[in-house]
């Protein structure tokens, strides 16, 4: 918390990167890439989110406890989404594994 003040240049660089990534994601979305559209969009979103968390929210220089809580929040979101989807995605499996 008593960290040295970050220079405006660093913030400006992150800001520019975020804008550039936004333009990129809109451009990519216009291309016909099938499933890859989703992967590309999500990857870019994750990069943008990480930049905001690390630089604007200063998690880069935060205590281990803060990092742990950020990680835990994301992990719990993953639990919700993964387990939820696991039901829907595995409903179609029965016929294939009827020998079980």
């Amino acid at each position: 918390m008593n960290h040295p003040v970050v220079s405006v240049k660093v913030y400006a660089a992150v800001f520019a990167a975020l804008l550039a990534l936004t333009i990129t994601t809109v451009a990519v979305s216009k291309l016909e890439l099938g499933e890859f559209n989703f992967i590309a969009a999500m990857t870019i979103a994750v990069i943008k989110g990480t930049l905001v968390v690390m630089f604007f929210m200063d998690v880069r220089r935060a205590t281990s406890m803060t990092k742990l809580f950020v990680g835990a929040g994301l992990f719990w979101l993953a639990i919700l989404l993964v387990f939820l989807l696991s039901d829907y995605l595995s409903r179609g499996w029965r016929p294939a594994l009827h020998w079980l």
Binding site: M42, K48, T66, W76, L77
Partner: protein, 223 residues
């Protein structure tokens, strides 16, 4: 952690009685805000879960409705929020440096950008109203094959963006309070905790939008 046996020196005005020292108070506030943000992640997470399930169940309806998403407004709004995060972080930096005029300037900019976002959102919602795409008794969808499913998808669209907008409105309110406090000289290099905490909140709301934008506006066009 403070040594409890030292004589308590005259303490800063902002130090509350149950804390040993300012460092403990700041660390507590920061941890508290992060715990709160974790709760917000889970709060939005439920809706992201619902969205994912219905996108998986109804890909064709999803593709159909995606043509009605206003990508232009969405993209501009994304840019607006990113700008507002930039001005917010500069406001916190100004507070660190004790630059009163700069704090107020950047907070006001952030607030204005937030209002621009909400205005554009209002324009977008109005568009949806005109097209009868707001779920409820007035809902109508041109492609009869997907009418029911489209209503569900639009419901999720409004729930997610609406909840986000409510958080923006709260943020605008908090920024107003900060501007008043800054105007009254409450912040200095030694204490600017509320600016930092509300900054964290503001960035979080930006991050939610960073994910909402591609999921709701960009994906599904080319399916």
């Amino acid at each position: 952690m403070a040594d409890s046996e030292t004589i308590v020196a005259p303490h800063p005005r902002e130090l509350q009685h149950h804390f040993d020292d300012s460092a403990q108070q700041l660390e507590s506030s920061t941890l508290g805000m992060w715990v709160f943000l974790v709760t917000e992640v889970m709060f939005f997470g439920g809706m992201f879960g619902g969205y994912t399930v219905y996108r998986d169940l109804y890909p064709a309806a999803f593709a159909s409705t995606s043509h009605f998403m206003n990508v232009t407004i969405g993209a501009i709004n994304t840019g607006v929020l990113i700008c507002s995060s930039f001005t917010m972080v500069l406001a916190v930096r100004s507070a660190q440096l004790g630059q009163k005029k700069a704090i107020i300037a950047f907070l006001v900019l952030t607030l204005l950008l937030g209002c621009v976002f909400l205005t554009l959102k209002g324009v977008e919602y109005h568009e949806k109203w005109v097209e009868h795409h707001i779920p409820g008794p007035g809902f109508q969808y041109a492609d009869a094959r997907y009418a029911h499913q489209a209503q569900i998808l639009f419901f999720l669209y409004f729930a997610m963006t609406g909840m986000h907008a409510i958080h923006m409105i709260v943020g605008v309110g908090l920024l107003t309070v900060l501007i008043v406090m800054a105007g009254r000289n409450r912040f200095s290099g030694a204490w600017y905790t509320p600016v930092e905490m509300i900054g964290l909140y503001w960035h979080f709301v930006d991050i939610i939008w960073i994910f909402l934008f591609p999921l709701l506006y960009l994906i599904g066009h080319t399916q």
